[in-house]
Amino acid sequence: MPAITLTINNELFSARKEQTILEIAREHGVDIPTLCHFEGLEAMGGCRLCLVELQGSPRPVPACITKAAEGMVVTTHSDKLIEYRKMLVELLLAERTHTCSICVQNNNCELQALAAKLGIDHVRFDYLHQQLPMDASRERFALDHNRCVLCLRCVRVCDAVEGAHTWDVRGRGSTSRVVADLDRPWGSSTSCTDCGKCVQLCPTGALYKKGATVGEMKKERSFLNRILERRRLAAQGRSL
């Protein structure tokens, strides 16, 4: 695999050519926030949190998708990027009803942690307070649309890893919503295998396991890690 060198935050790094900026940055301990991204799933570039500045590029680019190239000069943290990331998370907090105090995922939520990390102590935009339903018709799991950030990890893992493609998105724009099959109650889905991968990858309390107390609400991803790691390496053209 051909090696290249690039500059990230004024430091020179060498990397393999097929790597994304995000992979390289993380390998070297440079922290770029992400939300929709999950190692081993096809990158989507939807949350825009991993945007970085690229010398010569008029607009910031998503680190999760942008492949590194020789001589690239990348800035992962600038005042502008930090401000943009804050605004993006604020938009997400305002979009649906993320009332942390009554969320099963409180203290174990990626969105909540991101907000704290980015220094968000209030949201400057109007809360939309959409009235969205919950779907608790499945025996072991439940879905609360009010917590969904439309990162589509569930859609992607269900399709690419489980092969069931139970989930997809209905509508568009701000009316987008995750649906099972023909927008049937999840409990009556004929394609769902009950594997729970979507639940474990969900960054927020949108998909959760029923019956567990709040204290037990950590997502359990260890069983998925190996599968996803293999997919990640396969995507890079390497094998374990």
Binding site: H98, N107, D121
Partner: protein
């Protein structure tokens, strides 16, 4: 040195933030040397006083009474702090925002186990509800935020200490989480 004139208020919330304030325990005694509590549910003052240095406001703006009090507080306070998640996000109080006010009153006072306030008194008994519950900063300028439901006593202490030291209120990452 004159004491910091502290006021607290309890708008649309559960008073949990005030409980958390009390959870400072004996530290309150130490703070008492430097702070004078001039208004709030914990003091017997009918009118919001003038020239308040620091106002910690719990709860969201849910009705006209909240709205008027908040505006009064803003006029008379140097620093206004949103105290807890309800004040900052609307939190539990704002969960009613998906309903229309009329439907809400009907279901609570007529369809449910409760009974309608007697006529003639409803205006006094129940301040008029705003169509939507709002966080404080959507109504007035807010100077700082102490998130948490309720905020840990440490967060409250950190905020008050900063003000006492004349520094801006900047909580650390672990003290900033909502919920």
């Amino acid at each position: 040195m004159s004491k910091l004139r502290l006021a607290t208020a309890w708008l649309g919330g559960c008073s949990g933030c005030h409980m958390s304030l009390l959870d400072l325990g004996e530290l309150l005694v130490e703070l008492a040397d430097r702070i004078e509590l001039v208004y709030g549910p914990l003091v017997d003052a009918k009118q919001f006083p003038e020239q308040v240095d620091l106002a910690l406001i719990e709860g969201a703006v849910a009705n006209l009474e909240n709205l008027e009090l908040l505006q009064q507080i803003r006029r008379n306070s140097r620093l206004l702090v949103s105290f807890g998640d309800c004040a900052i996000t609307g939190n539990v109080t704002s969960l009613r925002n998906v309903f229309k006010v009329d439907d809400l009153l009907t279901s609570v006072y007529q369809a449910g186990p409760g009974s309608l306030p007697r006529s003639g008194e409803d205006g006094d008994v129940l301040p008029e509800l705003l169509p939507r519950v709002l966080p404080l900063h959507q109504v007035v300028e807010v100077d700082a935020f102490i998130p948490g439901c309720p905020p840990d006593p440490e967060r409250i202490l950190a905020a008050i200490t900063a003000v006492l030291n004349g520094e801006p209120v900047m909580l650390g990452e672990d003290q900033r989480t909502f919920g």
